[in-house]
Amino acid sequence: MSAVVIAGNGPAAHRLAERLRRNGHRGAITLCGDEQEPAYQRPLLTAVLTGELDADDVRLAALPDDVRVLTGVTVTGIDRRHRQVLTSDGRRHRFDHLVLAVGARTAVPDVRGLRAARGLLAEGVRRLRSLADCREPCVGPTVVLGGGLRGVEAANALASFGHDVTLVYPGRTPLHRHVDARAGGLLARALSEAGVGLLPGRRVTGHGPGVVSLDDGRELPCGSLLLCSGTTPNTALAREAGLAVHRGVLVDAQLRTTDPGIHALGDCAEHQGVVLGGLTHAWRQADRLACLLTGGQERNSDTTDVTVLRPRTQGFDLLALGPKNAFHEGMAEDGEEVVFHDPARGRYARLILYRQRVRAAVLVGLPRAAATVQGLHERGLLVPRDRLAFLSGTSGVYRGQPAPDTSVVCPCNNVTRGTLRAAWDQGARDADRLVSSTGAATGCGTCMPFVREFCAELSREGMVP
């Protein structure tokens, strides 16, 4: 029975441990998390910050009793020769399989005044990475630094709870690495309408008590400065152990590092040049690795370079999906581009199709299409022929309407307009008699208003000579 040690105690590590047991792994499982907290649902931190949820609400379900979870214990080294990890409490843990699920950390820009003594963050500055970061509510005007996914989500959520929020970002629009200028423009408008102050093209150059200064010389009042300025995969542990590291810890399709007994997944792992962030992806990797480590058959590995960006922003919908630079490549031979732009209503769609399948997409303000496009893309299905109907969220018109007199008025009793008309002609001149002679409206009864209306229509017709 093999022993599995998991460095990390986040949701992906947690999922891996749970799935290992569920798949029948009988050996020891040990998780080492550097936070003092039991594991929690990281994507819900914004809701803790805004006060929608308590810290207790975001705890993950307890793991089975026979899984050892060490909190406040960091893996400090890997002794590959003896197949052991060294931990911050001075102990060693033997492993047959080691899994690095150590995630990423928020990059702290090199800006005057962000750090206090001993490298800690200065008063009023915080990351949005751990539960500890989110326990205390934001005080005073809040400045969110960074126009990426986390910055946009946090600024939007805080504004919707009435906070005074300003989003400062270097690009022309928020999420400018993921969406084009039109989509970015609509996104900026939506954020602005939600009450977020926007400062595009700006950087923070300094921080002091109650204030940040920007690169154009302006100063902003700032009670809380939230750092959402990008993340860096945690690779030091792997690097020191002699494993191959690029931006993240390099893994193959089976999530193996250059040491086949050591795996990595989630935000710290890099496969084929890409660090695919996001918990949904990390969970999938955890499921796959649990399957591999328990001798199961691997399902199709999702070795993809496609990112799916779907911010959890209430009030407006945005989806960006596709490989990097999909919108900048020349159009392939079987390619097609579809653009739908309705700026007055805040709606925009741009699709790159390849052989009638979605290769890349940006959608704003089209919630139904956003859901549909993800499904079409994920399963490689043909897009509907009526592109406009499907983008605007209706089903297209494919066939003519049935001729009026053959159309069924009462499906329960199969009464058509023609039958009603015939009954009228034979003397059923009010709604009740139409009902009793045709059986219309004697089932579910919902066509009764129509029968009345049609009766009125027939009597009007009757008056015409």
Partner: protein, 694 residues
């Protein structure tokens, strides 16, 4: 009998059991809607209006049939048929033991028949192997309801309560087709409908959520997530009337709506809108149907729906609630009186020593002689004729060759039996395979009771004498029991006497009928179980004070989504889902014999999105081959732009090569034994294009 006669009874079909007035003048039988419990006029759908034709169907079984040496079914008389049957049963039991006989009942049988069938199996045959087709129908919702509330009654409130609802969530239910008159009670409510198809019900909805088949659980988790994060949970109710919220939420906490959207295809914004509608109305109801239940995770999915209702504080109060829309005519009573593999009358667990002692006393048998729980319907069918499995099967009120999943397999198993006996009033597809066919009575030819979807006990009354030699199922059971050496008084044939015994057997059980009798019902009393004493008014609304668990609290369930047993792949790229049509009932054995219904819905079809059909080169009305890993179906293409493009729909009422259940597989819900009818991976091609067909 001469002259015009008239009785007040109920429609023979679905669980709504619409009241009907039947009149007969020796030539014709005429039906009209009766009055509802509050005196208002009732209604009928087209099935109900045309039901009298069933009473004079030309191929009605009039004599018992025995399969002769030449393999043909030939008419015989009752004595010969029952003697033969008893003789074979005795021989098989002597050689192989009591469990060599299996029994399959049905959710259309009256309470009296269901009760006596269970008793017959357990004491006359001594077999543990009895179950019924309600396993395909109500079992998942029943399991989830029992776990959550300590009691399972389809609607724990009168159906008329729905008339005051402001918002009703219909999860996997299409009552506009399956029980149209129900919609009369939903006229005021805004409907939220969960269905992969744009059904007749979905077309009337304020909001239609259209998830991919097999992903309902993820959708419901997303909705619970919304309720929690948006502060819509009724915290006080959750604290005072429930336990286990934290565990349910910990599972749902991973399903923020954007993630649920990726799995289900239901826009996050629509998930939020649906939950807000439900939470912000004063009077909301949540109703479950087969669409979310007939899956390998059916019980968990129904439990997730209950979790959502509990979080919103709906069950157990006036002006709100959770319920499940029972399917078959006596789907409710049929699951309470002992034809279910694990149950004794009164909805008592067969494994409970106290329940066993009580029922053994009523039956006058030693408690040790009662067998234990047996296999669920699909497991039972799967083991027929196999080593150690039943070698004889008795079927009452069920047509598994059409209605059970993976019918190729069912046919194989039936063929492996030494003895197949089918009691029915027409030669159903299953009866056609039997060694002995017993002609029994149908609705307007018999007395009895049924329990409708709201747990109300209704009287079925006799208008006509049974034609030919047709006999009641009660007579059949009594006749066989006597031949197997049972004392005659143990198997009464008068429905009223059987009901009185059922009352005694149910006394003190979850579904306590002991205060209900024919006199009270005939006097027009409206009685919902439990009704424990003669003076008790019945219980129209359950759980108002407390739920049925010992501590009075409802239970949240800790459930999570995982992929369905079959997901589309390269070979079978589409989801198929099976279901019902307005014009047919169950396996269609009855409704296909009614000329008007048969003429309007004569043929099997496959409903498919125009884009999908176009991509496959199929046009409206042409024949298509539908293949799954389990079997092959031929049906006509019917284009419908209301269905998801990744999904096709096949109605299951048809026999032969259009039998939808040729496609479905053997995978079962581990908790309830529910098969997966609503999600199977298929390939659709032009008929004959693949070169070979079955």
């Amino acid at each position: 009998m001469r002259g015009v006669r008239e009785v007040m009874t109920h429609c023979p079909y679905c669980a709504l059991q619409c009241p009907t007035r039947l009149r007969s003048d020796d030539e014709e039988v005429e039906v009209s809607p009766g009055s509802l419990s509050d005196g208002r006029p009732g209604a009928l759908c087209r099935k109900g209006w045309t039901a009298p034709e069933l009473l004079r169907t030309p191929d009605r079984l009039l004599q018992p049939l025995l399969r002769g040496a030449d393999g043909e079914l030939v008419p015989t008389d009752w004595d010969r048929a029952l003697d033969f049957m008893a003789h074979r049963l005795r021989d098989l039991r002597t050689e192989h033991g009591s469990d060599v006989v299996g029994v399959l009942g049905g959710g259309g049988l009256t309470n009296e028949k269901a009760y006596l069938l269970g008793k017959f199996a357990r004491i006359a045959l001594g077999t543990s192997r009895i179950d019924y087709n309600g396993r395909f129908c109500m079992s998942a919702a029943a399991a989830a309801g029992n776990a959550a509330f300590g009691l399972d009654r389809g609607l724990p409130f009168p159906v008329t309560d729905l008339e005051d609802a402001q918002v009703v969530l219909l999860a996997g239910a299409n009552p506009a087709s399956t029980m149209p008159p129900l919609l009369r009670h939903l006229e005021r409510a805004q409907l939220v409908v969960i269905d992969p198809r744009r059904t007749a019900t979905a077309r009337r909805a304020a909001l239609h959520l259209q998830p991919a088949p097999g992903t309902d659980l993820a959708l419901l988790q997303g909705m619970l997530h919304v309720a929690v994060v948006e502060g819509l949970v009724k915290r006080e109710y959750v604290r005072e009337r429930t336990v286990g919220f934290q565990g349910a939420w910990q599972q749902a906490s991973a399903w923020w709506p954007e993630r649920a959207e990726q799995v289900t295809g239901v826009p996050a914004a629509e998930q939020r809108a649906a939950v807000r509608l439900l939470a912000e109305a004063e009077r909301s109801y949540v109703l479950s149907g087969r669409g979310i239940e007939q899956h390998t995770r059916g019980t968990d999915t129904a439990a997730a729906l209950i979790n959502l209702s509990l979080a919103l504080g709906l069950p157990g109060r006036e002006g709100g609630g959770y319920g499940c829309l029972t399917g078959q005519g006596n789907g409710q009573g049929g699951r309470e009186h002992g034809q279910k593999a694990d149950q004794l009358p009164g909805y008592r667990p067969l494994s409970d020593p106290v329940a066993r002692a009580h029922v053994a006393r009523v039956w006058g048998v030693p408690v040790e002689s009662l067998p234990g729980p047996g296999p669920s319907a699909c497991e039972l069918l799967g083991m027929l004729g196999a080593p150690g499995g039943p070698r004889a099967l008795l079927v009452f009120g069920s047509n598994p060759v059409v209605s059970a999943p993976h019918t190729n397999h069912v046919r194989e198993r039936l063929a492996a039996l030494d003895l197949l006996v089918v009691a029915d009033f027409v030669l159903s597809e299953t009866a056609a395979l039997a060694d002995v066919v017993l002609p029994v009575t149908q609705w307007a030819e018999e007395e009895g009771t049924l329990t409708n979807l709201e747990g109300r006990v209704l009287r079925r009354r006799r208008l006509l004498r049974p034609p030919g030699q047709a006999r009641s199922d009660l007579d059949v059971l009594s006749g066989v029991a006597a031949r197997l050496g049972q004392p005659a008084e143990r198997f009464p044939t008068v429905p009223r006497l059987v009901f009185d015994e059922l009352r005694a057997a149910s006394r003190g059980g979850r579904a306590d009928y002991s205060g209900i009798d024919y006199e009270r019902l005939d006097a027009g009393e409206v009685l919902h179980w439990p009704c424990p004493t003669a003076g008790h008014p019945g219980t129209p609304r359950l759980f108002l004070e407390r739920f049925a668990h010992p501590d009075g609290r409802a239970r949240f369930a800790e459930v999570d989504h995982c992929d369905p047993a079959e997901i589309p792949d390269e070979d079978y790229p589409l989801h198929a889902t099976t279901g019902r049509l307005l014009l047919h009932y169950q396996s269609g054995a009855q409704t296909r014999r009614i000329s008007e219904l048969a003429a309007s819905a004569p043929n099997p079809f496959v409903e498919i999105h125009p884009d999908t059909a176009h991509a496959l080169g199929l046009s409206d009305g042409e024949l298509a081959d539908i293949d799954s890993a389990n079997g092959h179906v031929v049906a006509r293409v019917r284009l419908d732009r209301g269905i998801r493009p990744d999904t096709v729909f096949v109605p299951f009422h048809f026999p032969g090569r259009g039998t939808a259940n040729l496609l479905t597989g053997n995978a079962l819900d581990p908790v309830s034994g529910m098969p997966q009818f609503k999600s199977v991976a298929v390939r659709v091609t032009a008929h004959g294009a693949a070169g070979e067909t079955a």
